[in-house]
Every structure is written in C-alpha cells, then in structure tokens.
C-alpha cells in the first residue's frame, strides 16, 4: 500500500516538473547580481511609471479605436457603397478597406495583449521576483511595439486608400472635370 502511494506521489511530482519546467526556463533570464540589485532598488518607481503609462494609454486607445472605426464605417464603407451603387469598379478600394478592417481587429487584440502584460508587470512583487519582473516588463515592451507596428500599418492603409481614391478620380474624371459640374 505504502509503495503504491510512493509511486503515485513520485509520478505526480514528475508530472508537475514536466509541466512547469519549460515555463520556468522560459521566464528566467541570466542576469548579473548588480543588475538584480538595481532592479530591486528602482522597481517600485518603475511600477509607478508603468501605472502612469498604462493609465495614459487607455484614452489614447479609446480615441484611436473610435476614430479608426469611424474612418472605416463612416468614410470607406460609404464611398465603396456609393461607387458600387453607381456601377463603378471599386475592387481596389474594397480590398484596402477590407485589409484596414482586419488590421483594426488586430489592433484591438494587440492592445488587449499589451494591457494584460502591463497589468501583470505592474502587479508583480518586484522585490521578491526581480528577474520575473524584468521579463514581464520586456514582454510589455514587445507587446507595446506590436501595437505601434499595427498603428503604423493602419496609417499606411489610410494613406493607401487616399491615394487610391485620387487615382480613381484621375482615371475616371480627369477629362470630364468641367462637365461634371453641369
């Protein structure tokens, strides 16, 4: 009975180690003692700064999300619809608008990931776990950069749409600009 119990406990321990070891190995980073000491000294101030950055990002996200959605819903979709109703070929514009919408969905997902990683970093006990704290800050930095990359991509798609509208105008109305007003 005892040997069976020991076997069960040892199997459970091995299973736990097997599951947690990769995660632990992923979380740890080789650091010098001086670096760890500096993190311990400055991390409380760093957490305050993280909190401020996190709080300031919220209205920036909300405003951007609202504007991005309005650009899609109140401008792009409406022009595409109007062109299609007037039997123009708006394939390129529709394609750009579609790319823009999927990028907007990515923006929301990326911001959620960033928000979660910032919350994790800001709520850590950085004095007890300085290495993990450093890793979480690093994760948050990467997540923030991912959000920034998507913002750049959205800006690029907005410019692309604008150029396509101008190209469409030049293609279809360059010769009849004067006669359209009549």
């Amino acid at each position: 009975m005892k040997s069976r119990l020991k076997r069960v406990i040892s199997l459970a321990l091995m299973a736990t180690l097997f599951v947690t070891a990769p995660a632990f190995a992923q979380a740890t980073t080789t650091m010098t003692d001086g670096h760890i000491a500096k993190i311990r000294t400055n991390c409380q101030a760093a957490i305050l700064t993280l909190g401020q950055i996190h709080a300031n990002d919220a209205p920036a996200y909300i405003n951007r999300n609202q504007t991005y959605f309005s650009i899609s819903d109140k401008l792009m979709a409406r022009l595409n619809s109007r062109l299609t109703l007037n039997r123009y070929d708006a394939t390129q514009l529709v394609k750009t608008a579609s790319e823009y919408n999927s990028e907007l969905a990515k923006f929301r997902t990326a911001y959620k990931t960033y928000d979660d990683s910032m919350s994790t970093a800001a709520n850590m006990d950085c004095i007890k776990e300085p290495v993990s704290f450093y890793d979480r800050v690093s994760d948050a930095r990467d997540a923030r950069q991912a959000v920034r990359d998507i913002v750049d991509q959205l800006t690029s798609l907005i410019n692309q749409y604008q150029q396509q509208v101008q190209a469409f105008q030049a293609q279809h109305f360059s010769s009849q600009a004067g006669s359209d007003n009549s």
Partner: protein, 129 residues
C-alpha cells in the same frame, strides 16, 4: 377505504425534514448560486470582449477621463448619390480632415518602457557604453 384519521397535534409540523431540506432554504441558496454564476459570466464577458478596455470608470483611470473625446464630431460621407469629380474631391477633403488625429502621433512608442527609462537597465552595460 381505511383513511388515516390520526389527529395532527397542535404546534407540531407535519414534516419531519431537517431545516436544510426546506423549500425556502433551497430557494434562497439556489438564487444566490444563480446570481453568482450570472455575475461570473458577465464579468468574463466584460473582460474577454474588450469592453473593460473602454471603461475609464475603473480605479486608476479617473484622472485621464478628461483626455477622452467626449463628443462624436466625426462627419460621415453620404453613401448614396451620384459620383463625379466634385464628389471625390469633397470626399478626399473630408477624409484628410478626419484622419488627422490619428495620422501623426507617437502613441504606443516603446521608448517609455525602455530599461533606461524605467531605471532597471544593467549597470555594467551602462558603464561599458
């Protein structure tokens, strides 16, 4: 046809079930459990849908509420009507005006989260630089 004619004594309940088997107890506990489950589901939806990210009434966000665009002044383009050069010029002007708030900004730049900015950089690397 032998009906039980045992008299019920005054002040004695006909049921001998314990207090936790009573309908009222089950009803109250059931209501609490249902309410708890509904709260858990709604909180999970609030978090997973991303609605929590748009909620600045959360603790710690009251100070930044003023930075929010309270009015929706976004001007929409009409989805019906003819298409001509003037229409497209009008659209381009409207588009340029509306995209201005999001076209040039350093929002979400990763510089504020740099090790040096947070004071958690490696001192040996700093000395070497």
């Amino acid at each position: 046809m032998n009906e039980s004619t045992e008299p019920i004594e005054e002040g004695v309940l006909p049921s001998s079930r314990p207090w936790y088997r009573r309908e009222l107890f089950v009803f109250i506990v059931g209501s609490i459990l249902v309410a708890f489950a509904l709260v858990c589901i709604s909180l999970a939806l609030y978090t997973s849908s991303g609605a929590s990210l748009l909620d600045l009434s959360r603790p710690g966000y009251q100070s930044v509420q003023s930075k929010l665009n309270q009015s929706d002044s976004f001007q929409a383009f009409s989805s019906d009507g003819p298409v001509n050069s003037d229409t497209l010029t009008q659209f381009s002007q409207l588009f340029q005006k509306q995209v201005k708030p999001v076209s040039n900004s350093s929002d979400f730049d990763s510089t504020p989260l740099a090790d040096q900015a947070l004071g958690i950089d490696d001192p040996t690397v700093t000395v070497a630089q």
